[in-house]
């Protein structure tokens, strides 16, 4: 049970002189639900981008299911699925086509692919809409489809980058219920970020809080509360990170935040 599946050791990402991520280290155990919290611009997205091979770390070691993320990139890529913070579906393809393309990109044989697509689409209750174009989907439906897509290649680790942003309470509850099931039944490791602290308190078994590029606290909700002498995770969080607000966009400015993404969609 204590097998380590994600290992970050003295991870650094610099943009010019600016250290977005400043020598962070953490371990995630197999099957664990791990929450990565922090204010805007703290380095959350940059860390997720390094974990998911989209950014090269400036230095440090990053291992995913035994694969060095920088040296064995393709093997590392097969081990995880990701639901991005910003929408990432092809609007002009149908739900089924989006799933199918994903399956082809991960070289899943046709028979298995079709079978899994059917299972997953039924699971996220989109099977009867499988031939509809994504542009006709609501925000919640898109998110559900993105989760189904992230699971298609049966990853060991699932990354969820603010997955519940903009979703209604019903969809949110459904989603977390499902995530918990994946972790319990399939032993899947879940790594997620969120700004809703009650979600993290509810679901996460382990929490890390990052601020100004450094991990300032690690542990279970209980441990964090005890450490800060507070009652809830939210209080602990506020005590640790302070009450001032941060800039909306992250300092690595190539990370489009949700607002920009939505604005771009409206421009279309």
């Amino acid at each position: 049970m204590s097998e380590i599946i994600i290992k970050a050791d003295k991870l650094v990402k610099k943009f010019g002189e600016f250290k977005a991520v400043d020598s962070i280290s953490f371990d995630v155990k197999k099957g664990e639900i791990f929450a990565f919290l922090g204010p805007n611009g703290a380095g959350k997205s940059t860390t997720i981008k390094m974990l998911t091979t989209m950014l090269h770390p400036s230095s440090g070691i990053l291992k995913m299911a035994g694969h060095d993320v920088t040296k064995e990139r393709d093997s590392a890529r097969k081990t995880f699925g990701i639901v991005f913070q910003d929408p990432s579906l092809d609007e002009e393809l149908s739900a089924f086509e989006n799933m199918d393309l994903h399956g082809v990109l991960y070289s899943i044989p046709k028979k298995t692919r079709y079978k899994r697509i059917e299972e997953l689409l039924k699971l996220v209750e989109l099977w009867d809409r499988k031939d509809s174009m994504i542009k006709t989907f609501s925000g919640g439906m898109r998110r559900r489809l993105e989760i189904a897509r992230g699971l298609l290649h049966e990853p060991k680790i699932l990354f969820l980058d603010e997955p519940t942003l903009g979703l209604d309470t019903q969809t949110r509850n459904l989603m977390w219920e499902y995530v918990r099931k994946l972790s319990n039944e399939k032993g899947m490791t879940i790594f997620f970020t969120t700004h809703y602290l009650e979600e993290a308190e509810d679901i996460a078994q382990k929490i890390a809080i990052i601020d100004n590029g450094k991990i300032i606290a690690k542990g279970t909700t209980k441990e964090l509360c005890k450490e800060t002498k507070t009652e809830t995770l939210e209080e602990a969080y506020l005590k640790l990170t302070g009450k001032t607000t941060r800039d909306e966009s992250s300092a690595d400015n190539n990370g489009l935040n949700f607002k920009t993404a939505m604005r771009n969609r409206n421009l279309r």
Binding site: K49, T52, T53, M54, L55, R73, D74, S75, R77, K78, I82, F84, D86, P87, S88, L89, D90, E91, E92, L93, E97, D100, L101, H102, V104, L105, Y106, S107, M133, R149, N254, A261, N264, R265, L267
Partner: protein, 248 residues
């Protein structure tokens, strides 16, 4: 192979599902064909230069491929902005394959658009000089479309917003077209214009098309083919290089 085919098919699907894109990239060439072909055709004949339609059609086909090629290359910009590129880039598929599949889809579409314009020009009274030579003309069309889609893809990899896209349209596509031999013969134009047009690879693409479709050439087909070949190598290298440098 399956991966490249799937990415190619994705572009084709998007094309067949969006009639506005089809009209957008075929409308302008069609308009020029009608307005210039009929409008200027009469004066052109009076000036003793012969059949303007025979001169114009290869140029308009080239313009179609120019417009549509760069446009479909720029689809990568859309993928970037609307997030789909993130999905593509975290899959265990090499960037070369992603670029290849998407660009081949884009150039297939430009080829179809070019052929469409050719067919329409037949309805308007254009006749190729020799039907057999339509085959090498088609080959030129294919090479041209790959070249221009690559150019579009390369630029799209560098630009991050649609304002940039507009600029490219105004600063690149329009001059590439108007400062080429597509609309007028280069024999009698003022020297500066002739020099500029001779530096424009599009001129050579048009010239090669004209050689096969209308049996006339300004630079000579050997020179045309050399320039077209060099342009292909340069644009593809440019696209690969820029696409590899995308950081999300």
């Amino acid at each position: 192979m399956g991966i490249i085919y799937a990415l190619w098919l994705r572009q084709i699907r998007r094309y067949t599902r969006s009639s506005s894109r089809l009209i957008g990239t075929i409308g302008q060439p069609l308009l020029l064909l009608l307005a210039l072909g009929y409008g200027i055709g009469a004066i052109y004949r009076k000036a003793g230069e012969g059949d303007y339609l025979a001169f114009l059609v290869p140029g308009i086909i080239a313009q179609t491929v120019l417009l549509s090629g760069i446009f479909w290359g720029l689809i990568i910009l859309q993928d970037k902005r609307f997030g789909f590129l993130s999905e593509l880039l975290v899959t265990p598929v090499s960037r070369i394959k992603i670029l290849l599949g998407s660009a081949l889809g884009g150039s297939t579409i430009s080829i179809i658009q070019g052929i469409l314009i050719f067919l329409i020009s037949l309805l308007l009274g254009f006749r190729p000089y020799d039907w057999l030579l339509v085959i090498p003309a088609l080959l030129i069309l294919i090479v041209m479309s790959i070249s221009l889609t690559s150019l579009g893809a390369g630029i799209a990899s560098m630009v991050n917003d649609f304002q940039g896209f507009q600029g490219i349209n105004n600063l690149l596509i329009t001059p590439l077209f108007f400062l080429s031999s597509a609309l007028y013969p280069l024999n009698n134009v003022p020297r500066p214009l002739a020099i500029i047009s001779s530096c424009n690879p599009i001129s050579y693409m048009v010239d090669a098309m004209r050689f096969f479709l209308s049996n006339s050439t300004h630079f000579g087909i050997e020179k045309d083919l050399i320039v077209i070949g060099i342009t292909l190598v340069l644009t593809v290298t440019f696209a690969v290089d820029r696409f590899n440098k995308i950081e999300m």
